[in-house]
């Protein structure tokens, strides 16, 4: 059996071993180096939507800024997960996202770390940061496709498909927990209220004892989380 090709690269001054086909993000996580992410989920295909995992990659003396969740590892590349420019990119990204979801716990934490000003951009309280976690989770893991993207560009948003959501969502609710802003839950409840009030299909626990009911996750006030 041929061994998988081992690649050695440098991340933040550390020699890191990785196998071909891995991404820089995976290699870093394996080595215990944290790179902030919002749209990344280990069970899902890389998406490259939030751009927060942006790192500096130096290849043969040339510096480049790439999203580490999509960038494949290569021999002898030098990766810097923190630099003045990387920090600035992340700061602006967080500020832009905070125009949509100013109180999302993950964003609040990131804002503290990168010194982002939550009021820099005019508010557009959509609460969704279009990370696509719910859409991709429903498609790739649950394969129910109860929620999808609608429209394009700046108007892009998530939307529950009432026909599917009615049958599937209340018994699952898994996307509620992975949503960084609790918007998935709000969008579902709004869809339910508008399209099928009181008609959701509750999970059936006939024979086996009911599993602990997955509770709707309350949004913690900022003060309580810190």
């Amino acid at each position: 059996m041929s061994e998988l090709t081992e690649i050695v690269l440098q991340i933040d001054g550390q020699e890191v071993k990785a196998t071909a086909g891995m991404t820089v993000l995976q290699a870093a996580q394996q080595a215990g180096i944290t790179i902030p992410t919002l749209c990344h989920h280990e069970k899902l295909e890389a998406f490259g939507g939030c751009r927060l995992c942006m790192v500096e990659v130096e290849v043969r003396g040339w510096k480049n800024y790439v999203v580490s969740c999509l960038y494949p590892v290569a021999k002898d590349i030098i990766v810097r997960t923190r630099s003045e420019k990387v920090d600035k990119i992340r700061k602006v990204l967080v500020e832009e996202l905070m125009a949509h979801a100013p109180d999302a716990p993950e964003l609040v934490k990131l804002a503290e770390e990168y010194g982002a000003d939550r009021d820099r951009f005019e508010r557009d309280a959509s609460f969704c940061i279009v990370c696509g976690l719910c859409v991709r989770y429903c498609n790739e893991v649950k394969q129910k496709n109860a929620v999808g993207f609608i429209d394009n560009g700046a108007r892009r948003e998530i939307s529950f498909i009432p026909e599917v959501a009615k049958e599937e969502c209340w018994g699952c609710q898994e996307c509620f927990a992975i949503c960084p802003t609790s918007y998935a839950q709000a969008a579902y409840l709004l869809t339910e209220a508008l399209a099928f009030p009181g008609q959701r299909k509750a999970p059936i626990h006939a024979i086996k004892p009911p599993e602990p009911v997955r509770r709707v996750i309350p949004i913690m006030p900022i003060a309580a989380t810190t």
Partner: protein
């Protein structure tokens, strides 16, 4: 309206998820808009999740998820047409049809849209009805043009 034709198009692509856009384009041409029931039929026949059909249908401007009129009235608002008086054309079309950009009238006779640039700047300002170009348009001529379409 032309349900058989729509079903025919869907049948042609049955079981081919990759042909989603082709099917949508053909039905859009035939029916001028994409009703939800039709999108459901497409999803089932092409074995594409309905959420993804909606994603594609709402993404491209070619597709309309709301009913459109029998005739599409289009005023070019590109730079050249604008300089040659497209604003006056728009005002006249809006006055005659009573529609704003993107609207369809109650009898579904006209859908009025604006957009740039249709590539025929030399004959601007331009009015396009159902793909037919009317160049060197003046507000006075519009009424006669629109009369031809019922």
């Amino acid at each position: 309206m032309c349900e058989q034709k729509i079903d025919g198009i869907i049948e042609k692509y049955r079981g081919e998820p990759g042909s989603l856009i082709h099917a949508l384009v053909e039905i859009q041409h035939e029916n001028h808009w994409l009703p939800r029931e039709v999108l459901h039929k497409i999803a089932d026949a092409l074995t594409v999740p309905f959420a993804q059909v909606m994603q594609i249908a709402s993404f491209y401007k070619t597709f309309s998820l709301t009913p459109k009129g029998r005739h599409e009235v289009h005023v070019c608002t590109g730079m050249t047409c604008h300089l040659r008086g497209a604003a006056k054309l728009r005002a006249k079309v809006e006055e005659l049809t009573g529609l704003k950009d993107g609207e369809t009238d109650a009898e579904s006779r006209f859908t009025y849209e604006t957009g740039a640039c249709l590539g025929s700047c030399s004959i601007g300002p331009e009015l396009i009805v159902d793909g037919k170009h009317y160049g060197r348009m003046t507000p006075e001529k519009i009424e006669d043009v629109l009369k031809q379409y019922e």
